[in-house]
């Protein structure tokens, strides 16, 4: 059974990934994603389509036409408006909702409209396990990849370069003090900030009620991809469990009062 969903970030390795028995491929759709350097036309996609932009109606009109003739097995998407255009298509519908899919009741409501939901990885391991336990359908769990921190419609790197009179670079590493690392990727549709270290949620691999374990391998060196996917080897990868073992604070006001 294919239970690993792997984002394709490198054309040269597609055939190797296709050869792994339990891997399903997720392809960022050209002009419909932000934060990926490699994108694919609809004709190239035989696995799952990724659409992670917030879309206007003119974009949805185009997407609707593209999907009508697609041979993809499924679609992973962020914009709720996409539900309307994929509801009758013969493909698996997976809702991404970055940062929003954070409790089992909301996820169960969304599952009335889609086949699965990707659980936010802004949560602790215990929170994720409780969601999986109480979800009405199998869900998708982030297990490895660059963690999205922010999605802006603005062209933040271009604006910076223009203002500073620098050559425009659409990918950049940055830090802030106290030492936190960021990777930033921009395209014509916006800018994504990622945590600089890879999110390591491999300890979630044995959870139940899981449709897919998602490996979102943005910017990972080619030689590290196959050992990771085949054998969960992350020896040379700078990674972190992020929120899995660090709950975030809710009522900050209580702290300051």
């Amino acid at each position: 059974m294919k239970n690993k969903l792997v984002t394709v970030i490198n054309r040269e390795i597609i055939n190797d990934l296709r050869g792994i028995r339990d891997v399903e491929l997720l392809y960022p759709l050209k002009s419909f994603c932000v934060g990926y350097e490699i994108e694919f036309s609809i004709d190239e996609i035989d696995g799952y389509i990724l659409v992670n932009r917030i879309l206007e109606d003119k974009d949805l009109d185009i997407l609707e036409k593209l999907l009508a003739n697609s041979k993809a097995k499924g679609i992973v998407f962020d914009d709720i408006g996409i539900i309307e255009i994929v509801k009758d298509l013969p493909m698996t519908k997976i809702l991404l909702l970055d940062h929003i899919a954070t409790n089992y009741e909301s996820i169960n409501y969304y599952l009335e409209y889609v086949d699965s939901v990707i659980i936010s990885n802004d949560l602790t391991k215990e929170e994720i396990e409780e969601i999986l336990k109480k979800a009405n359908k199998p869900l998708v769990v982030n297990v490895f990849g660059l963690k999205t921190l922010m999605y802006s419609r603005r062209l933040l790197l271009s604006n910076y370069a223009i203002y500073r009179n620098l050559k425009i670079e659409r990918k950049m590493d940055a830090t802030i003090s106290p030492l936190k690392y960021f990777k930033i990727i921009e395209n014509d549709y916006g800018t994504k900030f990622y945590a600089g270290k890879y999110f390591n949620g491999l300890e979630l691999l044995n959870c139940s009620n899981v449709l897919f374990y998602w490996y979102d391998l943005i910017d990972l060196e080619q030689d590290k991809i196959l050992p990771l996917i085949k054998d969960n080897k992350i020896d040379d990868i700078n990674s972190d469990m992020l929120f899995l073992d660090k709950p975030t604070i809710y009522k900050v006001g209580d702290i300051n009062d």
Partner: protein
């Protein structure tokens, strides 16, 4: 008639928002609401605020707009039922859970989809409308074209017209969580997008947007049929709320009477930028924001102490205004009085008396009660500010 919707961080701000021209306010309770650092309202205060608003024919909307974690679900049903029992006019929510529950519990108030839902298209409107949403707050990234398309679906449309902007799509940012563990989607945003990011061998990267103002497009949005104009800022002062609401109240009224000129817009723009200590632009409405819509040199904000005093009353017999001081002022200062029921006017302070009617040269203590000779009557809760701009310079 387009509603002017003001933030109310506490009861005092709510009263000033209504007094200065808001048709409705939005605020949060002590749970389930973003802006955890605002004072917010306890259950009894929410009831009192709603009763007060209804007594003067105004509306209240309650923000129930956190993104819920499993453990936050406790008490939500009871909270929503309570809001229904005190007759709030509506709630503002983004989590599907809250929206579904309002329908399941058969509650009477309206549901407005929060800007946290990043709504930009009519298919999403259809989804939310089917769940019982009657109004949507457009994503701040919405263009004029997109607002028109959404408006044409027949749903009520609310747009932000003034205040701080997120760098991110609202709700699509956890920079705060990553850097400080403060959950931005549960009220703890630490505004990391206002920080400097270090880049190797290059100047610091800054990503801070200027504030939003929709001054040049007020008439345009009224003509589009936008139902509610929303002001951001539940943590702002009464001076800020009063100034911003009054400026937009007057611009909206002028626009409705075809009297809103570019000179008048420019005058109000200067007042608003000075009040916020920040620059502002229309952002996404007419273009994709670029260099001119961002700050690049950290916080280009100079704090000012323009708010000099709150009018407590006017002694008609002795022609003296009684003020509660808010910032330093002295004899000889050029000031302005403004309020909801008068035209702003300039004044030169020629004398100041303390509470014991002893003449003083300077009022230096916040909250001190002072009297100033003034030959024009003013009303309680009018305000005195430093004169920085003169309307005549713009008109």
């Amino acid at each position: 008639m387009t509603e002017l919707l003001a933030p109310a961080g506490d009861f005092e701000k709510l009263k000033f928002a209504f007094l200065y021209g808001a048709d409705a306010v939005y605020f949060g309770g002590q749970n389930f609401s973003l802006r955890a650092n605002a004072k917010n309202f306890n259950l009894e205060e929410m009831k009192e605020a709603t009763t007060y608003a209804h007594s003067i024919n105004k509306k209240v909307y309650i923000t129930v707009n956190i993104v819920f974690h499993n453990q936050d679900l406790v008490g939500l049903d009871e909270y929503l039922k309570y809001l229904d029992s005190i007759n709030v006019d509506g709630i503002i929510a983004s989590d599907i859970l809250v929206i579904k529950k309002v329908k399941e519990l058969n509650l009477n108030f309206s549901v407005c989809l929060s800007t946290q839902a990043s709504l930009l298209n009519k298919r999403a409107v259809k989804f939310w409308k089917n769940l019982g949403v009657s109004r949507v707050v457009m994503a701040r990234e919405a263009s004029k074209e997109q607002i028109k398309i959404i408006k044409d679906t027949g749903i009520e449309v609310e747009t932000f017209i003034h205040g701080a902007m997120c760098t991110s799509f609202s709700g699509k940012c956890v920079l705060s969580n990553y850097v400080t563990l403060r959950d931005s989607n549960r009220g703890g945003c630490a505004q990391i997008c206002r920080w400097n990011f270090n880049v190797l061998d290059k100047p610091d990267l800054t990503i801070t947007p200027k504030d939003l103002n929709m001054i040049p497009f007020i008439k345009d949005e009224i003509d589009l049929g936008v139902d509610s104009f929303k002001i951001e800022g539940r943590m702002r002062s009464i001076y800020y709320i009063s100034t911003v609401i009054l400026c937009y109240r007057r611009m909206i009224d002028a626009a409705l009477n075809n009297k809103l000129t570019s000179n008048l817009e420019n005058y109000y723009l200067n007042i608003l930028n000075r009040c916020a200590n920040r620059e502002s632009t229309p952002q996404f409405y007419d273009k994709l924001p670029g260099v001119d819509e961002q700050y690049f040199n950290s916080r280009e904000e100079l704090s000012n102490q323009d708010f000099l005093g709150l009018v407590l009353g006017y002694d008609k017999e002795n022609k003296m205004v009684i003020l509660e001081s808010r910032n330093y002022f002295k004899v000889g200062d050029e000031v302005q009085f403004f309020g909801p029921n008068m035209e702003t006017f300039n004044w030169t302070i020629n004398k100041i008396y303390n509470e014991n009617l002893e003449e003083i040269d300077v009022s230096r203590h916040p909250k001190a009660i002072v009297k100033i000779p003034l030959n024009k009557a003013v009303e309680k809760d009018d305000m005195m500010r430093l004169k920085v701009f003169d309307k005549n310079d713009f008109l």
